[in-house]
């Protein structure tokens, strides 16, 4: 069973989103990191890049697979997790904390409420 914390929201493309003041932290879910296996490279967006809901923001390379990750809301990238450059396996080891991917600032907070709840995400992945 995957770890699906209640204090974050989710997307159908397996990102989690945590509200942090006026910003939103985004990462890959535990379910998705487990499905992908050991991540060996994270290609992150540029700080300042525009995020449009549903657009690919970067890519993750695992030993056997590669997957893009997507913007869960419209906004602007204000930070990326530089630690992942040297240690992309953080996404596997600590997906909801040390393995975060990027942070966005949004103009319209109501987008957050439209994301999946833990319960809905659980149903989405069939657990």
């Amino acid at each position: 069973m995957s770890n699906i914390p209640e204090n974050v929201r989710y997307t159908e493309t397996h990102e989690w989103v945590r509200k942090d003041g006026d910003k939103y932290v985004i990462g890959l879910t535990d379910y998705a990191q487990h499905e992908m296996g050991e991540i060996v490279m994270a290609e992150l967006p540029e700080v300042g890049a525009e995020a449009t809901k549903g657009d690919a923001m970067g890519g993750l390379e695992a030993v056997k697979t590669a997957e893009d990750f997507y913007a869960p809301m419209d906004g602007e990238v204000v930070a990326v997790n530089e630690e992942l450059e040297a240690n992309p396996a953080l996404i596997n080891e600590d997906p909801f904390a040390g393995g975060w991917l990027f942070v966005i600032k949004v103009s319209d907070d109501s987008q957050f409420d439209g994301l999946l709840t833990a319960e809905e995400y659980k149903t989405h992945i069939g657990e």
């Binding site: 296996g37 050991e38 060996v40 490279m41 290609e43 890519g59 390379e61 030993v63 056997k64 590669a66 893009d68």
Partner: protein, 365 residues
């Protein structure tokens, strides 16, 4: 409905991630692909390869039949094995396989699981005119591979057979873990090791004995994920990725398994002879990624603006800590040291053509 190997329950108990592969539910990994990979490079790992197909060829014309069907020479001594391609008349590859010569009039062909039905039909369609019998033993034959520098030490604990007398690509039959088995010093990892063929009902006993005997060496079960990274690291082609009907053994640098130096006729001989003489338009090469990124199967390769090839396999090479690829490049661009670029997600990633194998420290004898 996918088939299960006789070791399926073992894999589940070991926490394997199983996936459908070639009609079987196979263990892809038990935990970390890279750890499984490194266990085989540094000590020893055990693989369930029961999905592989086995055809037994017997009869007075066995050698002549295989010589016609396969590109490599069936005239090896009893107790030896050989690697070969099997080609269509146009030179494209039906499959690549290992053939064990059991006796004067008996061979065992071991084919890729994904090609089993196609191979069986191909073999059947060429029987006419040969006094041979071919039996498909795939559904009764289990295969456990023990691979790594400590593999022989593990196997010595399970048999009275003098394993030192079995050289690379040689085999014998006898008792292994108290069951009747074919014991071969073959593998797909670049390491020393054995492949043990047995009947389905004996597989669990062999697996348990191997895991127990290997405990002192830190043996780990290894899934198909690490099997793929292990073979790629030593540059072995994988059917369906690097070779298929659209590629020939000459292009794939498998000319060494095409018996053009003999007078023996075989399917595709003329086509391959001509291609070798005229040189193929492209070659399979090994590439090390010198930039940041992971080109995969299907990634295009460029020299400047010109598309000169395509990646057929790509992954991290765990023992080298960097990304490597196999791929086809146009003749003229295949030289070692030549620098190309792969295009991944619109970005150019530099890579350099290098000698295969990428990993050269393997314990293979």
């Amino acid at each position: 409905m996918d088939k299960r190997t006789p070791l399926y329950e073992k894999h589940i108990a070991l926490g394997a991630t199983v996936q459908s592969f070639a009609g079987y539910l196979m263990p892809i990994k038990y935990g970390s692909i890279q750890k499984e990979h490194m266990a085989v490079r540094e000590s020893v790992g055990a693989f369930d390869l029961t999905h592989m197909g086995e055809f037994r060829v017997t009869g007075p014309d066995s050698t002549a039949f295989l010589d016609k069907l396969l590109t490599n020479d069936a005239g090896v001594d009893n107790g030896k094995a050989y690697y070969s391609t099997m080609c269509y008349p146009d030179g494209g590859i039906v499959d690549d396989l290992i053939v064990y010569r059991i006796g004067d009039q008996e061979y065992l062909m071991v084919v890729n699981a994904a090609n089993l039905d196609k191979d069986w039909a191909w073999v059947q369609s060429h029987l006419q005119g040969f006094d041979v019998k071919v039996i498909n033993e795939s559904d009764e034959t289990a295969l456990v591979a023990i691979q790594g520098p400590r593999a022989q030490e593990v196997c010595l604990k399970l048999t009275d057979i003098d394993l030192n007398a079995i050289g690379y690509y040689e085999h014998t039959t006898g008792k292994f873990a108290n069951v009747d088995a074919l014991i071969a010093r073959t593998g797909y990892t670049g390491e020393d090791g054995f492949e043990i063929y047995m009947k389905y009902p004996d597989a669990e006993a062999v697996w348990d004995s191997v895991m127990e005997a290997g405990e002192e060496f830190g043996i780990v079960p290894v899934g198909l994920g690490a099997r793929d990274t292990l073979r790629l690291e030593v540059g072995y082609p994988l059917y369906g990725n690097d070779i298929d009907h659209s590629t020939t053994p000459i292009e794939a640098k498998l000319g060494w398994v095409v018996k053009l130096k003999t007078e023996k006729p075989f399917i595709a001989r003329e086509v391959l002879e001509q291609q070798k003489a005229e040189k193929p338009g492209r070659y399979l090469v090994g590439m090390k990624v010198t930039g940041k990124g992971f080109p995969r199967h299907g990634t295009p390769l460029f020299s400047g603006d010109r598309k000169v090839g395509i990646v057929t396999s790509g992954s991290i090479a765990p023992a080298l800590g960097q990304a490597v690829c196999l791929g086809y490049v146009e003749r003229g661009f295949q030289k070692r040291g030549n620098e190309l670029e792969a295009e991944v997600r619109g970005k150019r990633i530099p890579l350099k053509i290098v000698k295969i194998p990428f990993y050269t420290e393997g314990s293979r004898k």
